[in-house]
Symmetry: C2
Subunit: 335 residues, 2 copies
DNA sequence: TTGAAAGCGATACCAA
DNA sequence: TTGGTATCGCTTTCAA
């Protein structure tokens, strides 16, 4: 067995209570000398408190759960990093769960996080609606901060989102101003709130500039490279004309780029392409991708801050934080 | 407070012991009827055992720690996914820690994982030597499986590695056979075992084909895009001639690609480029990157398997698993 | 088949 | 400033 608080107490000829006070740096309640002696023993034996035991005693774990749909999508690692930074600064550990964009796994992850008594959960959900899956946040009194995506009918504690509608309005507007009248739109999975918001932005720009909305130009993707490639191929195969592509994320935009090259349409000469996210790779492809920069670090840090505030029982002045993406113009669009 | 085993016991008019037997699916020791009644209550109240409490009682957590240097490097998310798959199949939870390639953070992560009594740790270390940082694996009897990188003088329980030397021999050989006599080598951080092995492979190919080894052609990078870019720029700036670039990972190779374009040298016409990892993006760049495919899924699953075996006290027939990368030829090299 | 009680490793309250 | 002890929620052994 490993060394316990009891062992240290015995070695130091004090009670467990005293050792506990030393571990937890209680200012009062232990004499200077005793403290030094105990501390020496702790160091000597390399004693580390068993956090499980502490957890059951205090019912707090200094741990926050982070549930992410796809760690393979470069958008998320950046987000995760931001959240981890903030959390570890305040001495919280983050436990990361990857759901592979599967509702079942999402449910499973949340369930085990709760069973492990995390102090709170930050969630990028894949669920459109919170009807079928009643999470136990309320029952266990665990705060839940939504990030990036929202779920209808779910009483989350706080949320941090990007204004997707506005962002896609801006992007579509750029393309329209460049003279494009038929802009293909590669949407995300239909169950995501972000997908609908982005489509709404696209539509409202069309409307603003009195352009016809053609449903044939909207193709659904799944945020993966292949689906961006397939989307363009599909339009091409069906002989549907377009002079620009607006994709719901950079990865699909890059897939589109590849497809356009394969079918011999020059970018940006014949077709302009705009992505979304501003992932690191977006500037490495050829041509470098015009895209919308999501304030990843801010998204993450705001979410973490909100989470910590909730855990520590502070009130939030704003429980729905909204941020703006901004246009990054590169060479996949014309000057 | 949330519902506990005691509560369920009371509602069912049985003892905690009985409920415990039901939760843990003990075949014997509880009558059919009682079992049904208890189970009904459990479902009704949505009772979930407190895993912290279970952990302190059993000193096992069904949890394995995963320590990774940089979640932002696409190589790792793929690895993580593989490990998670295997672990969750066996009902283990994986706790992921990102160290930002910092030894301090690595130490910190391992320390908190141990304090949380994970059953084992899978580690992609950033440490060259295990002199200064005595981890407590032995003290807490926690198995440690190294993955991808090894650490000198560290008594790990098992390790899963790619044969880097062989891989880079193959890659260098390809370039040599294409007639290149001055091959730039973009190395990784000098403290990594993989860096030395890769360099060794490069050197031994040169030797095999009686080529001169010129240290000026070896530039150190840090696995990031910018460092690959900088490496080529540096060679160019110093007027050091080269007709091929062999990079220690794809991300740096892509940086090199970009630099070559910026200085107006055609790939693969004037300069050939080879990367390492075969990350998803390597086929998306222009030109698609010739690279070495690391068997990511196998790496991860072998590591997970080894870990589970160790946790469950099974003996490993092979405690040093070695795998092979294989060449993927694309358009950044000539046919 | 069932239950009582000890034990896991910590915290925290109340006395001394 | 200290210590004794109850407590947290679970498992497990031993008896009934």
């Amino acid at each position: 067995m490993s060394v316990t608080i009891e062992y240290i107490a015995r070695m130091a000829n004090v009670s467990k209570a005293t050792v506990s006070r030393v571990i937890n740096n209680k200012a009062q309640g232990v004499g200077k000398e005793t403290r030094a002696r105990v501390q020496r023993l702790i160091d000597e034996y390399g004693y580390k408190p068993n956090l499980l035991a502490r957890g059951v005693a205090t019912s707090r774990t200094k741990t926050i759960g982070l549930v992410i749909p796809d760690i393979t999508n470069p958008f998320f690692p950046a987000l995760i990093k931001a959240i981890e930074h903030c959390a570890s600064e305040r001495e919280y550990t983050v436990v990361l769960c990857n759901t592979d964009s599967s509702p079942e796994k999402e449910k499973q992850s949340i369930s085990t996080l709760i069973a492990n008594r995390v102090d709170g959960i930050i969630l990028a959900t894949v669920l459109e609606e919170q009807r079928c899956i009643p999470y136990d946040f309320a029952k266990y009194n665990i705060p839940c901060v939504l990030i990036d995506r929202r779920t209808k009918g779910f009483d989350y504690s706080a949320g941090v989102f990007v204004d997707n509608e506005y962002a896609f309005y801006i992007a579509a507007e750029l393309l329209i101003k460049h003279g494009n009248r038929r802009i293909a739109f590669i949407a995300g999975p239909s169950n995501l709130s972000t997908t609908q918001e982005r489509l709404a932005g696209y539509c409202s720009a069309l409307k603003q500039y009195a352009l016809h909305y053609d449903p044939a130009l909207v193709v659904q993707g799944n945020f993966q490279y292949e689906s961006g490639y397939a989307a363009v191929m599909r339009l091409h195969g069906h002989g549907i004309p377009f002079t620009a592509v607006l994709a719901s994320n950079d990865v699909m935009a890059i897939g589109a780029l590849k497809a356009l090259r394969d079918i011999g349409r020059a970018v940006p000469g014949e077709v302009e392409v705009v992505g979304f996210d501003n992932i690191q790779f977006s500037e490495m492809v050829d041509p470098p991708l015009t895209t919308l920069d999501q304030p990843l670090y801010e998204l993450g840090s705001k979410a973490a801050e909100a989470m910590l505030a909730l855990i520590e029982g502070r009130r939030l002045d704003d429980t729905n934080i909204r941020m703006e993406a901004k246009l990054v113009v590169r060479a996949s669009t014309r000057p």
